[in-house]
Symmetry: C2
Subunit: 191 residues, 2 copies
DNA sequence: GGGAGCATGTAACGGGTTACATGATTGG
DNA sequence: CCAATCATGTAACCCGTTACATGCTCCC
């Protein structure tokens, strides 16, 4: 046998969403798909992205199939139950490997507002300005939301880093808003 | 007939890449797929994203099928030719509609470096710091590149807005680098 | 002669989305 | 009682990627 030496742990090759979901599970045990979705919307969404609900259930099933997570059915009510997941020890190993051995994939930015500026010779300037102002306001709101979630994470020591990521997000959206203000000025200059 | 009134122009429902490629064609006539790819890599890639080469050829064929662009074969050499594209008047209308009537789709950010910070309880801190420093340096390089391309766009009046988008990009990557420096400090604090 | 750049295309694949479907529970 | 929330899942679809294939031309 050319490989597969004892003790050699090869990381499973998972899509990004899978790692993200596994990451969420690394914070807390016994989360349902629904829980995972809420977590994703309230933290991941600010600096990464929020997978769709159906995708999350798919990833959860994949993680279980690969034995990186296990699930059990929790009877919440007489006629109602939910399936909750937790990482296995293999899952723990995998996530450590992901953090320490896998190259982070390159940052992705898709800012369609800047795309509009780039192609501004095709459209109306007034309108573009209005659109950019709206976008700036949305960024400020987003910053406020990130800040609120960051404060929420302060309470528990285990969300320490999650909170820092959210503080980073607040700054990101604040900077973005400032950059749009600069852009508005810059466009003004250009008659 | 319930719709289709004369003069009523309904925008074709195109995927994002299609609009981006059409946008590139709006700058200059007679671009080959290869040209489009280079343009995308040197401007779009900084604030939007660079579609793969094969995708560009696909989009170009789609645009022609929808009569938003036409192509002709240009004989460059005895035994070599290339197919070059240009927007039609319908294409011009469509791109104006895109700029002025279509909601820009929400900004997408996928920063896997911050994802690592968020999940930092699973990995080694030293390593994370090193990774972040590398990322900061890459951001600075990216800023420099954007600035260089922005200067390149100054020459021609028709790339005016394209140049502004690149100036914005320079700022983006500069801000990003500064934010990572802040993050490095912030993580230090947290022992 | 050979490597870099020009130039275009096909095929397989899959990640992820939207839309749809279903039904229980809780609180006003 | 009704809306919102909890909770899970299926099916269709396609965008976009990677990998592969091909061959010319230019310049050292």
């Amino acid at each position: 046998m050319s490989h597969g030496v004892m003790g050699e742990k090869s990381l499973p090759d998972l899509p990004a969403t899978s790692w993200a979901v596994l990451g969420i599970l690394s914070f807390e045990a016994d989360l349902s798909g629904y829980d995972v979705k809420r977590w994703a919307d309230q933290s991941l969404a600010f600096f990464y992205w929020a997978p769709s609900q159906s995708q999350i259930y798919t990833e959860l099933r994949r993680l279980e199939r690969l034995e990186l997570a296990t699930s059990r059915v929790e009877q919440t009510h007489a006629a109602k139950s939910r399936r909750v997941y937790r990482v296995t020890s293999q899952g723990q190993d995998a996530i450590r490997g992901w953090a320490d051995e896998l190259e982070p994939d390159p940052m992705v930015l898709k800012n369609s507002h800047i795309l509009r500026v780039w192609a501004a010779h095709n459209g109306d300037m007034e309108r573009l300005h209005g659109e950019l102002r709206t976008y700036r306001d949305a960024a400020l709101e987003r910053a406020a939301k990130a800040a609120a979630h960051a404060r929420g994470a302060e309470r528990d020591a285990s969300w320490r880093f999650s909170g820092i990521a959210l503080e980073w997000s607040e700054r990101f959206y604040l900077d973005e808003a400032a950059r749009i203000d600069w852009l508005l000025d810059r466009l003004q200059q250009e008659q």
